[in-house]
């Protein structure tokens, strides 16, 4: 059952240098109970896509889409209502997401009071239960602690508990482990997988880290220059990418080359976001580029549930 359906999403932000196309055309299709990875490097528009889903784009930004539906509701109009009720955000820096002068208990209570008005004792019990559900030890004692007394991993668990407290069934996680140590981040991701399984949540995992995708994602979409270039099962994208950019990205990873050998770096830079793109966005940097690629936008190719946009037919090197 499809929970989130997005087609042709674009976000244009006005700036002194002219309109910036932060997102040019992104398609997303996320089923209920799925952990969907949104993969890309800086400047690809992945964070802005997440913001558009929440209705949190910068002032003056224009958000447009052909299809923009969450559980049947049109996100263009109801994003504000859904935010914090059905859709919650877990962002990169947990310390910044928590108020440093309020206790954990107070912050949990603030969320619970807004979303499920119950008597105070019930709310407190509810908060403790949620904190415990995220694997935090001594949840009862934690209620009186301040965020700075917690480690980064514990802070992130509190943020996840807050997201659960809203009753949201769709979590947008924007690089939730980038600011955490590797081992701690692995635990947080394991927690998310467990919550998805136990509570039927759906997660959009925005990340640039392939290890994160490998660890938790069921399906994934690769973004480049504000465009979705490949979508499919995470395992398929990681082991057999089809789009030249996805291939190049995976080939550039340090463990893709033998020890001491040169890595397969990608030449060139991403196209500027203030200029329109003719043809394929990746053409200037693509090793398999043809003359056609510079002028004609690439067609969508399908293989089962795996989609990508490329002029080069599969089977070519």
């Amino acid at each position: 059952m499809t929970l989130l359906e997005v087609q042709g999403l674009s976000v244009t932000i006005p700036s002194p240098a002219g309109p910036v196309q932060a997102v040019r055309s992104v398609d997303l299709c996320i089923a209920k109970g799925e952990i969907h990875g949104l993969i890309g490097e800086s400047g690809c528009g992945k964070t802005m896509t997440g913001m558009a889903l929440l209705g949190l784009t910068p002032a003056g930004a224009q958000v447009a889409a052909q299809v923009f539906a969450f559980d049947g509701m049109n996100l263009s109009t109801s994003a504000i209502n859904l935010r914090g009720r059905r859709i919650a955000l877990i962002s990169q820096d947990p310390a910044a997401a928590l108020n440093p002068v309020l206790t954990i208990g107070r912050q949990m209570d603030d969320v619970l009071r807004t979303h499920s008005p119950h008597p105070k004792m019930d709310r407190r019990a509810g908060a403790v239960a949620l904190l415990a559900a995220t694997g935090l030890p001594d949840a009862d004692k934690l209620m009186t602690c301040y965020p700075h007394q917690l480690s980064g991993g514990m802070q992130q668990r509190v943020v996840i508990a807050q997201a659960l407290a809203t009753g949201a069934d769709f979590l947008i996680a924007d690089e939730p482990t980038t600011a955490l140590d590797v081992t701690v981040g692995a635990q947080v991701l394991a927690l998310l997988r467990q919550l998805v399984a136990d509570r039927g949540l759906t997660v959009l995992m925005i990340t640039h880290d392939m290890d994160v995708v490998a660890a938790v994602c069921d399906r994934a979409t690769v973004l480049y220059a504000g465009l979705s270039v490949e979508t499919g099962l995470a395992s398929a994208i990681l082991t057999r990418p089809r789009h030249p950019y996805a291939k190049a990205l995976l080939a550039a990873l340090p463990d893709a080359a033998p020890h001491g050998q040169r890595l397969a770096a990608i030449d060139g830079q991403i196209p500027p976001s203030t200029k329109p793109i003719s043809g394929c966005a990746f053409a200037p940097r693509c090793p398999a580029v043809m003359t056609l690629c510079h002028t004609v936008p690439p067609p969508a190719r399908v293989q089962g549930d795996h989609l990508w946009a490329c002029h080069v037919a599969e089977g070519a090197p």
């Binding site: 490097e41 590797v182 081992t183 701690v184 692995a186």
Partner: protein, 265 residues
């Protein structure tokens, strides 16, 4: 048996606790030993609080050392002070994590590159300009970058400038603190390639600190895993990656192997 370029012997670094009545803190670096032969690369891996950054800063003489010794090129490094220290620093190049913070935002690239040269006593002039253009060229940047400022560059370009600056005085030892952690994967690949090329061309020794085991496994001859100020495991990279002894090392490696992709041939 050639003397190693850098040795660290039973090094202890402890930060003073704040306040009059605070209990003494645990050491950030707890009796660490390492040996870096000339021309090789040592990667130090650890998470936050492991002491790897404190170890690096101790080698760079940015933090005081409680006990232990460091020798650089046979000399007692910790006993060098004043003008001798400043001169000796010329044999170490340093590249920090965020190039936009380690390059002065106010100066042009030319002024940034000139700084170490002037510190050595070179006279400004055409020869210096040529030298700077050469430094940029070796790091893959054209000379027309000289009049620009750091904020006009991309992350990868700025880090190349930082590497060029680190190599300005032809050091023998290059110390790098998470040089690619702030960069995208594709840019990281370019920088790692650049470092490998420079190492081969100039016979550099590299001391590389990172939290990313995969990066360091690709680049380093020797590996040292740190945790809570102590060395957990150390030795040849390929041996450790093939058969890690400690479970912590395995934990650092194990993340992300769910699909078994990208296994080394």
């Amino acid at each position: 048996m050639t003397t190693p370029l850098l040795t660290v012997h039973e090094l202890v670094v402890r930060y003073k606790p704040r306040g009059l009545f605070a209990t003494p803190s645990k050491p950030a670096v707890d009796r660490v030993n390492l040996s870096l032969p000339a021309g090789s690369t040592l990667g130090i891996v650890g998470e936050s609080g492991s002491g790897k950054s404190s170890l690096l800063r101790a080698v760079l003489r940015l933090v005081p050392v409680e006990s232990g010794g460091i020798t650089l090129d046979g000399q007692d490094w910790l006993a060098t002070h004043g003008p001798d220290l400043r001169r000796a620093r010329h044999s170490i190049g340093f590249v920090a994590q965020n190039p936009f913070l380690s390059l002065s935002p106010r100066l042009t690239i030319a002024q940034i590159l000139a700084e170490p040269l002037l510190a050595r006593g070179d006279k400004p002039g055409a020869a210096m300009q040529d030298h700077m253009a050469l430094l940029l060229f070796r790091c893959g940047l054209p000379p027309d970058f000289l009049p620009r400022r750091a904020r006009e560059l991309s992350g990868g370009q700025a880090q190349r400038v930082a590497i060029a600056r680190a190599l300005a005085l032809s050091p023998r030892l290059l110390v790098l603190d998470e040089p690619t952690s702030a960069l995208d994967v594709s840019v990281q690949a370019q920088i790692l390639n650049l470092l490998m090329d420079l190492k081969a061309d100039f016979g550099l020794s590299l001391l590389f600190v990172t939290h990313n085991l995969k990066v360091v496994a690709h680049l380093a001859d020797q590996l040292m895993v740190m945790r809570h100020g102590c060395v957990v495991e150390a030795g040849a990279t390929q041996r450790i990656m093939a058969a890690p002894e400690q479970s912590y090392t395995r934990e650092l490696m194990g993340f992300g192997q769910r699909f078994g992709q990208n296994t080394k041939p």
